[in-house]
Amino acid sequence: MDAFPILLSFQVSLVATVLTLALGLPLAWVLARRRFPGHDLVEAAVVLPLVLPPTVLGYYLLVVIGARGPVGELLGGLGIELAFTWRAAVLAACVGSITLLVKAAQAGFEAVDRRLEQAARTLGRSEWNIFWSVTLPLSWRAVFAGTVLAFCRALGDFGITLMVAGSIPGLTQTMPLAIYDYVQANQMREANLLSLVAVVTALLFLLGLGRLARLRF
């Protein structure tokens, strides 16, 4: 049995989680702290990836980033392949898990006393600075919980990844896809073994994260 799917899955999930944080935290902050026309619509739209069937989500993504899609053509012209590569797996994992982070972070930010941010403003700090020195430290538990959830969701993504990255062994076949493949091919021994490894590794990782969180704070 081959270790590639496990390594790929962890790599993809870590990168996807970073991407999720980079996109999701600003979005969560804007939703928490700013009212604008269409605010409620955006808030609802953020939940959509959780509501839509993964293969449907994956299909629409494929249409956009595939060889015939606008993004795919643009990137193709620049020599960058997206669909059917590990990068597409990252995109799939990110899309599938961003809702979890945004919702958790948004709730966390909203719970921070606005007057603390106002105080910081009067003391001369910029909005960016206030986010890092006041808002985030006071909401880190919510953000952390959201990140862990997003990471786990990224690790387990199946339907979206299958559509945009395909289940190409040795290239884009992540752990969930590999397990599914084994089951379909009736190779139950391999399927069970890979599942066991998946569960144990994920558990160890999460326990480690939990320990880290307690130590640091």
């Binding site: 390594l7 790599q11 970073v18 299909y59 795919g72 059917f84």
Partner: protein, 255 residues
């Protein structure tokens, strides 16, 4: 400390190649194939690898899904469909090389039950019996073997009565799994995957459905069209045909 970790992850993110992928020294051929080719192609691919020193990556699934992915740029070099219409569709979209289009097999469907089943199912009409609660076929929307199963059931005039009891597998492998695990009492699968100890099967009269002419073609985006064509010809050559025959496929020239 947190910043350093973030930096590492970021570097990982912008790396162009996935470090997890070991760069193979040999040429790689990606073969997209219908699920019914699972067992046959494993052997054929192994043989081809040994003979040519090429690494063959097999991506198997339901013909319809694979075709859609190829349409959107999946990295297939050659595509072995379980019918003709999906290849025709790709051809009309300019996704395959028309000159390479060729028939490589004709499929057969069989009626199968789990090995330890107490039921005796010999004909399609037997599926209407009350102790047959669920029947599995591949999804007729995108799996040609599913479509053939539907046609056969319609010809035998049992389709309407049976419909409420049908369970659809994503592809032939998936359908086989339903039967193997006993999740369903009976099902219709490809002959080429039916030779597994977990099930018992009887043939279905091929005149009950449109012929499952399985077409293959080289994908236009392939970076190794000659190699792809070589593989296709290997499948249709003496060694390939021998293996295909063993798995119950009818071959061009034999029907």
């Amino acid at each position: 400390m947190v910043k350093t970790i973030l930096l590492c992850i970021l570097t990982l993110a912008v790396s162009v190649e996935s470090p997890a992928v070991a760069q193979p020294k040999q040429p790689v051929l990606t073969v997209y194939g219908a699920a019914d080719l699972t067992f046959a192609f494993r052997e054929i691919a192994a043989l081809f690898e040994k003979g040519t020193g090429t690494k063959v990556v097999l991506v198997l699934g339901s013909t319809g899904n694979l075709a859609k992915q190829i349409e959107h740029g999946a990295p297939a070099d050659v595509f072995f469909a379980a019918n003709a219409s999906f290849v025709d569709d790709l051809q009309s979209k300019g996704a395959v090389i028309p000159e390479t289009r060729q028939l490589y097999a004709q499929g057969r469907i069989v009626l199968a039950v789990p090995r330890d089943s107490k039921l005796s199912i010999q004909r399609l009409e037997d599926l209407l019996r009350p102790d047959v609660k669920r029947v599995a076929i591949a999804n007729p929307e995108h799996a040609p073997y599913g479509r053939a199963a539907q046609q056969a059931l319609q010809t035998a005039r049992v389709w309407d009565a049976l419909k409420p009891r049908l369970v659809y597998g994503e592809n032939i492998r998936h359908t086989l799994q339903f039967i193997e695990t006993g999740a369903v009492e009976a099902g219709i699968v490809a002959l080429s995957v039916a030779d597994t100890p977990a099930i018992r099967h009887v043939p279905i009269d091929p005149s009950l459905h449109a012929p499952l002419n399985q077409i293959a073609a080289v994908v236009k985006r392939s970076t190794r069209p000659e190699l792809a064509l070589g593989f296709l010809q290997f499948v249709n050559g003496p060694e390939g045909r021998a293996i295909m025959k063993r798995y119950g496929f009818l071959l061009p020239g034999d029907f």
